[in-house]
Symmetry: C2
Subunit: 263 residues, 2 copies
């Protein structure tokens, strides 16, 4: 009774079990054999055989290094990227981020909050330089980054407390907040300013601007981020040019999402 009142009339068991195999193999640190899969799924070997056969034929599974073992195939990666590029906000933001990149000359990024992580949905690279640190599809801990504070500014104090509950916050740099109180201070600061700027004189090696994006309900749903190395990031121009441009882009995206505030 506990786990599965699954036995809905409309469940197609073949699909259900096949997907569970993918999940199990995703969670497994190492390739699994047919029998291991069958055991993990509490399934007859003959059924597991047919499922694996199908998954393999469709390239959702591929052979592991050891004989008779299987791991996730490349198709699951394709799906993952399709997921990212199908996010509605990605489509809306893409041309605007490209435009921001072109007018500023530095790299621009769009990210959202997913669980405790910042999830990068897409980016447009500075056209100069070979160093192409693209970020799409990446996850990083939200509590530790300027972009994370920006995204967390949409949460109430209670929500933020819940967010910190059970989260351990090791210090990545000496500026990393390591407690709820410290994180709250960062987020509050961001909320009053309306942006986060970190510049090279404080953090050697790079500069970054993060500005929130709001939806029609006034909720923070994403973050526009502009970043580059100090050498391409003139401090004088930062506040007079880069920041207003970034804010304008974020607002434009917000408008397209139906935001009607004046931030």
């Amino acid at each position: 009774m506990s786990e599965s009142a699954n036995h809905d009339i409309y469940f197609v068991p073949g699909l259900h079990r096949g997907l569970r195999i993918l999940e199990i193999l995703g969670a497994a640190k190492t390739p699994m054999s047919l029998s291991e899969i069958a055991r993990a799924m509490d399934l007859s070997r003959s059924s597991a055989f047919r499922l694996v056969y199908t998954l393999r034929q469709m390239e959702f599974l591929k052979d592991g290094e050891q004989k008779n073992t299987y791991t996730l195939g490349a198709k699951v990666l394709n799906l993952g990227f399709a997921y990212l590029s199908n996010q509605p906000i990605t489509k809306i933001a893409r041309p605007l981020l490209a435009q921001l990149r072109d007018t500023t000359g530095v790299s621009t990024h769009l990210s959202v909050l997913e669980g405790h992580n910042v999830l990068y949905l897409g980016s447009h690279q500075a056209r100069t330089g070979f160093v192409s640190n693209m970020v799409t599809g990446t996850r990083v801990e939200a509590y530790a980054t300027a972009i994370g504070w920006c995204l967390l500014s949409g949460k109430s104090e209670a929500e933020l407390a819940a967010f910190c509950k059970g989260l351990d916050m090791p210090p990545i740099t000496k500026h990393t907040p390591t407690s709820f109180q410290m994180l709250k201070a960062r987020v509050d600061q961001m909320r009053t300013d309306g942006f986060v700027v970190s510049h090279g004189f404080r953090e050697p090696g790079g500069s970054s601007i993060a500005v929130p994006v709001w939806d029609q309900a006034g909720k923070v749903v994403a973050c526009v981020n502009l970043s580059g190395p100090d050498s391409g990031f003139d401090f004088d121009k930062l506040k007079s040019f880069y920041l207003p441009e970034t804010k304008a882009t974020a607002l434009r995206i917000s408008r397209e999402l139906g935001y009607e505030g004046s931030n």
Copy 2:
């Protein structure tokens, strides 16, 4: 008769069709309705209903913005990342890349070639600085980047020609090779040098070192990459310190893969 001699004895049709729905929705630029899915799959609506029902319940599909439409769900993203972190080379390289990051103080990355793209498998960020341009899971055009040339150095001339066949190569920067001949020159250069270095005086804003990783068969299977902004990248130290360290790390990874050459 044309498309599917699919009718293997061991094919489980529910799973087959469910996965095809995921692929179709991944390729679709916009969410689809039940009927659209049924039509695209040449399937009865009642069957499509049951498949979608199952996928939705398992969170491989989620509701689109419009009513009665569906898109890929977050689960497919989880699988995508599981795929990346399960790649054997990722596991071997991870601690060594972290170590390289710690001794050099700048960001390190591991990437492989997938089709025409450079696929980033993992990275370790410089501990200083808020600018966290992580790259895991990203794809970029191989022909246009130093890392790409590094990875392509494993190919023979014929393979490289095949690689270029039908690939259009727009110039991203003025240094971008735009023909097979130009690309071949870059790759040959890389092969004789054993690495690619691009430094800020040529490419404003950032510096980068790329070194290949070999497997036991002597094939180039991956690329170790070290990159950072000029300000953190001392030119003098580049050749005397960063480059040898990077090469040592790449060789160490190669050794763990069974490489026995002396490069």
